[in-house]
């Protein structure tokens, strides 16, 4: 048996230090035996703080609906009918439909949020078309752009989640897909304006984005350059 020279208490064989004063146990006749049965295992239980999802969802709902409701009331009080405030209400509704699945759903949050958000954004734009004097832009212009953007974002999310890429490869993938998306958006816009495709402004975005992707892919393959970059840009 060993005693703490500082506290005078006997110590369990498994204690390498006195738990009361942290003094190391020194007993030449009976050195500390690390194989002695410990009072508790060394392993720690993982304790994650529980998330209060419903509370967060309620908070998110209040934070989005309260400004919308305030705008509608103010608008109604001033002009005796809801005019501009309806756009705020639609925007907040769309925002809410993106945020809520992120809070409430436990699995595949990003994908579910994107799908629900896309539907709600399309619906929002459709309602706005009904409210503004200029008609006929929703089906040929707004809807294709929303669907196409959602499709590209979905592919990026799935790639990030299910394909194991390094950071640089992932960035290269993201930039090249964004380049493609920009081109598709110009095609849709051109078709809406004069029914013919002449790529102009999208090339200004496409070329640098593709170049950046290529540079990233090259850096990814050169270990020396990669190490140098890591050194220079470490946070």
């Amino acid at each position: 048996m060993s005693y703490c020279v500082n506290c005078g208490v006997e110590l369990r064989e498994s204690e390498s230090h006195c738990p009361l004063c942290d003094t190391k146990v020194v007993n030449p006749r009976k050195p500390y035996n690390e194989n002695a049965e410990r009072a508790y295992p060394r392993r720690y239980d993982v304790v994650l703080p529980a998330e209060n999802r419903m509370m967060t969802a309620l908070l998110a709902t209040i934070l989005t609906f309260l400004p919308a409701l305030t705008c509608v009331i103010v608008d109604y009080v001033i002009s005796e009918k809801a005019t501009w405030s309806l756009y705020v209400a639609i925007a907040m509704g769309v925002l809410w439909s993106f945020v809520l699945p992120l809070v409430v759903v436990t699995k595949h949050r990003a994908v579910i949020s994107l799908l629900i958000g896309t539907v709600s954004l399309s619906l929002g734009l459709f309602l706005i078309e009904k409210l503004v004097p200029v008609k006929g832009w929703f089906m040929p212009l707004a809807l294709p752009i929303v669907v196409c953007a959602a499709f590209f974002i979905l592919i990026i999310i799935l790639a990030a989640k299910y394909v194991v890429f390094g950071v640089l490869k992932m960035m290269a993938f993201f930039f090249s897909f964004t380049a493609l998306m920009v081109v598709v958006i110009e095609i849709v816009t051109d078709m809406y304006i004069d029914n013919s495709v002449q790529l102009q402004w999208s090339l200004a975005a496409f070329v640098p984005l593709v170049l950046v992707s290529l540079v990233l892919l090259i850096i990814e393959r050169k270990k020396r350059v990669k190490d140098e970059m890591r050194k220079k840009f470490h946070i």
Binding site: C7, G8, V9, S14, H17, P19, A39, P41, R43, V47
Partner: protein, 424 residues
Amino acid sequence: MEKKWYRLDNAAKIFPVTKNSMWSNNFRVSVTLNEKIDPERLQKALEMTLPRFPNFSLTMKKGLFWYYLEHREGCPQVSEDAANPLRRFRTNKNRFLFRVRYYERRIAVEMFHVIADGNSSMLFLKTLAANYLRLGGVEIPNTHGVLDINEKPSDEEMEDSYQKYASFRVNKPRKERKAYHPKGVELKYNEIKIITGQINLRKLSEKSKEYKATITEFLCALLIKCFLDRQEREGARKKKPVKICIPVNLRSFYPSKSFRNFVLYTNPGVDPAYGNYTFEEIITQVHHFMGLNINEKNMNAMMSTNISSERNPFLKLLPLFIKNFGMLVAYRMYGESLTTCTFSNIGKMTLPDEMMPYVERFDFILNRQRNNAHAVSAVGFKDRLNITFTSKLVDSDLERDFFTSLVKMGIPVKIESNKNYEGE
């Protein structure tokens, strides 16, 4: 089949309210045998034991006005113990409110205070350990708190004894002065510091008798002394009273057979504003305070006061989330803030003679409180008393003061802990 459900007993009503994402009011009882625990055999023993204790086959749900407990089928899996036991219980997803853990030669049962108190959890542990040994071929009779698993559980065992025995003669005021709370650097939220001192029961009993006090009174007075010294060292300008919350088992006053909570508490202490107390003066103060307060009349008055609030028709009809808010405010005013720490001595354990050679020791550990930094618990078995300090503070000054004081009085102490040191 309709699931059986129960109202929360009067003491349990506060526990779901005070629990948060990091902490719940848990405690743990454990028994150390003289052979390594076989998890499969322990699982079988648990499956045999559980039907005898309907208060363990429960899960907690939310109603519109109150929480309630609902019967659930099945049996939880036994799990390996960890260096940070007593982690909080989550009550969603139909979860059990207790867990059985094993480590080397030890079987431990951790539970949320909603379903049982220390007394009935010891019955569960003893019966579980007896069944475990029986599966290994040991013959053990059903005596000394080992229950007959073939017996049908009675309704009396699931009753809310507070409701049954409260007489409603008076309403006792709850107002008391706020107590001193030690300051210090806290551990990480998922850590807990546990230090256990094994003490020779005979020597401790002799020393207590020298001071004309019981063991609980003696240890409580020593604890108060250590807290007073700590407050002195902290150098606070305005000193606050040091009060210890001591749970009182009401089964000693009433013939209750309930497995659920049936405890109240009393808060002995001293106020350093009146001057410096010697150890003898503290013991006298604690001894007389407990003599005056721990009696059937006083406990019944406390019990009746608690139940009157629960029966108030206006409060009853408030929706749960408003009630929770109100109860949390009341808890802040009349709960932990009135005491410095809790000290629960569950007494000396007895077992059937046939079981004695196979059992080495019992332990009883209270989780640290929600705000108070320390909790102290004690249980006796054979010739030893195991006193366990749980704490959320990094420093162990209080524990050191307490145990070295015992050593200085000529009472030997053997220390163990859950601390891990680097480079061990």
